[in-house]
């Protein structure tokens, strides 16, 4: 099957000045990754392994130093700024901290309808109707559409961020540590929402996290990053049953495993 998006040998170097002298930091040291339509691909790795840099490159928000990203038949890294701007709506990103990525002065409805109006997809009236439907879709009832971000709980804000990302009907939704700041019970709600969107809309998702347990729960494919490289990549079952790389093994070992209480009512 042809992948939806294929990254080839991505390299990204940043200039860093820790103590005055210039130093080159290699965030991505040759990453190749294929993302297939309708699948949830999880990317796990320690802090500093290059996960977020990869997310920014794939979302067309950073240009890699070298390498290519094939999407809809062309290398999007080679496109000019105008062309890239037309690609970006198809590759949407959701960040860890919804409080920091939502405009505090807009209502939920305005936040979700804004991208539709900026992209001139629809007129105001229709944009609002679509935004309302999307909010319902992610579990924000119509009567809360007029509230501003600070009136929502952390979980609802993240739902709002997901609704906004979905507004432009992206081909790929990239979630960069989108659950990390949430309580376990709220993480479960958002996880269920993602699974539900996958089965109902055929959503393609790149789920970036350092929580191996959640990655293992959600993903069809898992990639493990270490020092700017993807060191292991494959079907989730395979990686969980027979991990091969040392980095994968040490991350699995560090993942606190929590056995579901078989039947909680039975202990009574």
């Amino acid at each position: 099957m042809e992948p939806l998006l294929r990254a080839e040998n991505l390299v990204k170097q940043y200039a860093d000045r820790p103590l005055g002298e210039m130093r080159e930091v290699t965030a991505l040291a040759g990453v190749s990754l294929s993302i297939y339509a309708g699948k949830i691909t999880a990317l796990v790795g320690e802090s500093g392994s290059g996960k977020s840099t990869l997310a920014l490159c794939l979302a067309c928000l950073e240009r890699p130093s070298s390498g290519s990203i094939w999407f809809e038949g062309r290398d999007i890294t080679a496109l000019g700024e105008d062309e890239q701007r037309r690609v970006r709506p198809k590759l949407q990103l959701v960040f860890q901290d919804p409080a920091g990525s939502l405009n505090p002065r807009l209502t939920a409805l305005e936040i979700v309808s804004e991208p539709l109006m900026i992209q001139q997809r629809f007129r105001r009236q229709e944009s609002c109707e679509r935004a309302r439907a999307l909010l319902e879709r992610v579990g924000i009832p119509g009567e809360k559409a007029g509230q501003r971000p600070d009136e929502f709980s952390g979980g609802q804000r993240q739902r709002l961020a997901i609704a906004r990302a979905l507004a432009l009907e992206p081909k790929l939704l990239i979630l960069d540590e989108a659950l990390a700041a949430l309580d376990c019970s709220v993480q479960a709600q958002i996880a269920n929402l993602l699974l539900e969107l996958q089965s109902s809309l055929g959503l393609t998702c790149l789920f970036i996290t350092h929580d191996f347990a959640m990655a293992a729960h959600l993903a069809d494919e898992i990639g493990v990053m270490d020092h700017g490289r993807i060191v292991e990549l494959g079907a989730a079952e395979k990686i969980l049953r027979a991990p091969e790389n040392k980095a994968t093994l040490s991350q699995l070992a560090a993942t606190a495993r929590f056995r579901r209480i078989a039947n909680p009512l039975a202990v009574l």
Binding site: S185, H217, E237, T255
Partner: protein, 342 residues
């Protein structure tokens, strides 16, 4: 000291509570004057050299507990009543001078975000020696040596001097958290209260920091209150777990009992919504996770009944009439739920 003697000493220590919290009430006042109860009659005790895990969701009052113990509620928070007895002294009656000695000296606080807790324009070493200087009268030379010793202890390997000379932004998240730990143990406190100390770290660094807690507890006879929303962190670390809901104790008991045979409907619901993809030949993957219906109420008024009742799947008529009392299921395992008496 040989192992046997050490164990005896630990046993003796564990007999007497180091900290006793009774009927603690903390209320926040909004700008409009509305009173929002954060702690609503919290009681528990902590023994010497014990690690108590405090489990709760945002809004359960767990961070309020951390600050209330050393009487540092935020500006709009007020400790209404209760007692906090620490090393025989009621901290809620202590004078400001006495509190100054206790904060950072006998009780150390560690917060979630190490990049915010450290001063951005001071080297890490200076920030640790500042803590020492505030509590002990030491010569500059002694101060420097003690600081270096702390860094050598917490950063095994040759790089400890370099880290002491570094600014916070030059350190990784794990290193910053170790600097906070150096500050915390600098004056050899008997209690560390750590509020989500590993939330921003990746699992490998997380495990490193947690095992450091384990080591320090034994080396320094420390008691630790570890506040978290992630039950998985407490396995193999905490001696007991306190589950908080709406500013009260829902369940408290030995870690094993609470996490593997939870009794309170809330604890059960909370543990059930964790993904467990490794169970049963990976069969649970991609299944819908069981959710807790509703949301933690952030209202200005306690209902007068059990606060979990609106979300509880096992509610009974009695649940709305009054708040359940703590019921002892065994010597150490207590639950506040009418199912067990209450």
């Amino acid at each position: 000291m040989d192992v046997g003697a050490r164990r005896d000493l630990l046993l003796v220590h564990r007999m007497t509570p180091l900290l006793e919290v009774q009927d603690l009430h903390v209320t926040y006042y909004s700008r409009t004057g509305a009173a929002i109860p954060a702690l609503a009659g919290l009681s528990f005790d902590l023994r010497s050299c014990e690690i108590l895990g405090v489990l709760g969701e945002s809004g359960s009052g767990k961070s309020t507990l951390a600050t209330a113990l050393v009487r540092l509620p935020s500006a709009n928070g007020k400790i209404e009543k209760g007692t906090v007895t620490f090393e025989g002294q009621n901290l809620l009656r202590a004078t400001p001078r006495e509190l100054e000695k206790i904060r950072g000296g006998r009780i150390a606080l560690i917060f979630q975000e190490p990049s915010l807790a450290l001063h951005p324009t001071l080297p890490a070493g200076e920030q640790v020696s500042d803590v020492l200087a505030a509590h002990k009268s030491l010569s500059r030379k002694a101060l420097r040596e003690k600081t270096w010793q702390l860094f050598a202890d917490l950063f095994p390997g040759a790089e400890s001097r370099r880290i002491a000379d570094s600014y916070p932004h030059q350190l990784s998240g794990g290193q910053r958290q170790r600097v906070l730990l150096a500050q915390a143990i600098a004056c050899r406190p008997s209690l560390i209260v750590a509020d989500e100390p590993t939330a921003s770290l990746d699992p490998i660094t997380q495990q490193e920091i947690l095992s450091l807690f384990r080591t320090l507890r034994l080396q320094l006879n420390l008691s630790i209150i570890l506040i978290t929303h992630n039950p998985a962190l407490l396995v193999g670390l905490a001696d007991r777990v306190l589950v908080m809901y709406a500013g009260r104790v829902a369940e408290i008991g030995p870690t094993r009992d609470v996490l593997s045979s939870p009794r309170h409907p809330y604890t059960r619901a909370l543990l059930r919504c964790l993904p467990s993809p490794f169970d049963g030949d990976l069969g649970g993957r991609k299944m819908k996770l069981p959710l807790i219906p509703g949301e933690l109420r952030r209202s200005t008024q306690l209902t007068g009944g059990c606060e979990f009742e609106p979300r509880c799947t096992e509610r009974m008529d009695v649940c709305t009439t009054r708040a359940p009392a703590l019921v002892a299921l065994s010597e150490a395992h207590n639950v506040s739920c009418f199912k067990y008496g209450g």
